[in-house]
Symmetry: C2
């Protein structure tokens, strides 16, 4: 049974028990469900059945800690909808139980009045922590970090540190990586729980810790955090402020989420779609329209260059209308090869496989590959040229194919590097942009070759 089928079944059983008010059956079912799965079921109920009271009823059957946990797995829209339907008292209890990174995400969604009310009722330390976390710009390390980490004051022995770990365990996001802090709150070193466990109880933590810690500044981009966690296989990454003070950590699971959403963003950019604020099935239609229309309209105007090329060669076309037969084929092939080349570079840059310094080496490789591709495609198209218009047309078409594919591939390959050079995101070299550019150039190349050969004959 697939994950989706299992979920659907669990949801049906749950709804049945709820409608029949079989509270006992419900109390049996609910603890068996994982938070991520329960969240997905609740999301389904809100989206498909639009039945918020049902969701609130289900949440009421859960202990507070679990409510907080499930809520953290829901998308922002649904979190907000639920938060707006429950009392301040309950919301405060739930916020308290949430991890600090999820707490601030929900908090930032609330209206200003509600935020003020809640803040006033929080303990001072909690309030300060929340306000601080809420102040970091979206997309930065600060915005995704949690302040629930295990800090060990410098100077502790191994057994003291172990005691501290045990005390902090219930609240910390992870207890497996410990951060040693000096008197000024600066990050002095790091140590894994594994190291701590096998160390002599009387040893000094300062003698055992790794001093050269991989850390990141609060202002750094979130994708850089994900990249470093992946590169160095870290469990968590410490985040420091401008005075090198430890202010939070980002854990591996959050880094994985960031990597996924960054990849999705790049997928969309690759088709000239702007950054969506939610999944494609959930984002408002108006927003989807806006994120798609900008480049589409820009490219309509860019396409006028193709039209201008065609207008320039109108006499050639009028004299030999059969040439139009090969036009979509030739410019389409160039566009496809060019989009391939661009995508290979853009993705290579995003994963760190390709750097600006590799440009000349990659240009040489692309020259060879694109030349071979162009020749192969020319061989494929030449017989059709003979059939449709004789040998002269076949020669025009084959020569145009090689030239357009070669030119298109090189253009597609170089564009991401040029953009990177001018500090523009290389992913802007999207397939639609690349194919539109190649369309225009392809028209000119094709009809220039056609005019030269067919007039010459």
């Amino acid at each position: 049974m697939s994950l989706n089928e299992t979920l659907q079944e669990q949801k049906d059983t749950l709804l049945e028990a709820l409608q029949d008010e079989q509270r006992e059956h419900l109390d049996e079912l609910l603890p068996e469900l994982r938070a991520a799965d329960l969240a997905e079921i609740l999301e389904d109920i809100i989206e498909e059945e639009d039945d918020l009271p049902l969701v609130l009823g289900l949440l009421d059957c859960l202990p507070i800690e679990r409510r907080a946990n499930v809520l953290g797995y829901l998308p922002g829209d649904e979190q907000l909808e639920i938060a707006e339907a429950i009392s301040d008292d309950m919301l405060l209890l739930i916020l308290e139980e949430m991890g600090s990174d999820e707490r601030v995400d929900l908090f930032n969604l609330l209206g200003e009045d509600r935020r003020e009310t809640l803040l006033r009722r929080m303990a001072r330390q909690e309030r300060e922590d929340l306000k601080r976390l809420a102040s970091y710009e979206e997309g930065t390390a600060g915005a995704i970090m949690t302040s629930d980490y295990v800090a060990i004051p410098s100077g502790m022995t191994v057994s003291q540190a172990m005691m501290r770990v045990r005390q902090t365990a219930p609240d910390a996001e992870t207890v497996y990586q410990l951060y040693i802090i000096d008197g000024d709150g600066r990050l002095a070193g790091t140590m894994s729980l594994r190291q701590l466990m096998v160390a002599r109880p009387g040893a000094q933590v300062d003698d055992l810790m790794i001093k050269d810690v991989i850390s990141i500044s609060v202002d750094e981009e979130q994708e850089e955090v994900a990249r470093l966690i992946s590169r160095y296989d870290l469990l968590a990454m410490p985040v420091t402020d401008h005075d090198e003070r430890l202010v939070g950590i980002v854990t591996h699971d959050d880094a994985m989420d960031v990597a996924e959403s960054e990849a999705t963003e790049d997928f969309h950019k690759g088709m000239s779609i702007g950054q969506l604020e939610d999944g494609v099935s959930r984002v408002p239609i108006w927003s989807l329209y806006r994120k798609r229309v900008t480049w589409l309209v820009l490219l309509v105007f860019a396409n006028l260059f193709s039209g201008a090329g065609i207008a320039y060669f109108e006499d050639t076309i009028a004299a030999q209308v059969a040439l139009v037969f090969f036009l979509p084929l030739l410019i389409g092939s160039g566009g496809n090869a060019g989009a391939q080349a661009a995508t290979l570079m853009v993705r290579g840059m995003a994963t760190g496989d390709v750097g600006v310094k590799d440009w000349s080496k990659l240009l040489g490789r692309e020259l060879l590959v694109a030349g071979a591709l162009g020749l192969t495609m020319a061989v494929a198209v030449a017989p059709i040229g003979v059939m449709r218009g004789g040998e002269a047309v076949a020669m025009v078409v084959a020569m145009s194919m090689v030239t357009i594919v070669l030119f298109g591939s090189l253009l597609g390959m170089c564009l991401p590097f040029v953009l990177e050079r001018f500090k523009v995101d290389p992913a802007t070299a999207s397939a639609p942009l690349v194919t539109t550019l190649i369309d225009a150039c392809g028209v000119v190349i094709y009809f220039t070759i056609a005019t030269a050969i067919l007039t010459g004959l």
Copy 2:
């Protein structure tokens, strides 16, 4: 200073110390470098300077454990090159120090003779373990798992389990998630080290463990492992054989690598590029050619439909050559909108945001969005139509734009679902395929409308 610049500097200092034979300086520099960074430097030396002896010299300066560690971070090609240059004795020592998942990856790269020689010289248990791990098919959970996990026999107390963790700590990939095994080697439950640390020493592990473990079969696809680890925020995921016996675990860092390479594969598929066996800057040119040429040539033939459409309407075109002016623009716009729609669905399906059951809802949304996009683009192109060919041409072009964009978007949106339905990877609905299909349909739509309106007038 960026990561790349830091690395370049470290590499220069390192090479200098090596060339001047400043062994002392080298002994100072090497321990400061992280394994991942040192591996990148070695990779650079092999690729750019083709100086294998230099690399071997550097590796000789490292303790065996670190050699194994650095080797594990190198790409397969480089690992093999180094392995082939060192003695059986040394290779055995290094293999012994590697994690079992990296060990088997390197082992699988070696020639059969070398493998036999090495196997004969290994201890029995190590040999069996290696042979077993080597037997799993690439791309499965079995192929990426490690057998270095902490197994706790069912029936132990908390303090006994803690002792076991301490003993296993030096070799295990992670000690933070423990797996409880019954008498038959079956996975009975799981427990985090955190839970174990705060538990009463005399308590029974069997009473504390979570019995409903998320596990996966050895044969499952590696991307499913990554998806589940991401969904449930796991540190590691247990892998079981057909008798439910625990045979290995996949850790979060390996899951993140899998997610990244799967995303890269999907990026390439989105441009009709086959699966590359290595990064784009490293894969052999011949292989890059083969992975790109297949679809390009197929699409050349698919493009003949566009040509056929044009041939069919040759009279209309001959009578009004100005129509050709708008041809690339119209079919290009349809292709762009269609490729956007297809990509949104393909990525949505890959991340689990879109399921087959959402089809009808998404179709309704796409109808609205694509309609609005088509109208906007028609408004943009209409004035140009008036300028180039008068009001009749403007009407033809505007009507064609709306129809082609609407049709292209719906085609692009539906294609991934159709492919999924027929058990074909939805990512096959690549931008080149979608645009080629829309090109052909666009030609027919455009000239049909043109013939109807211009002949009618």
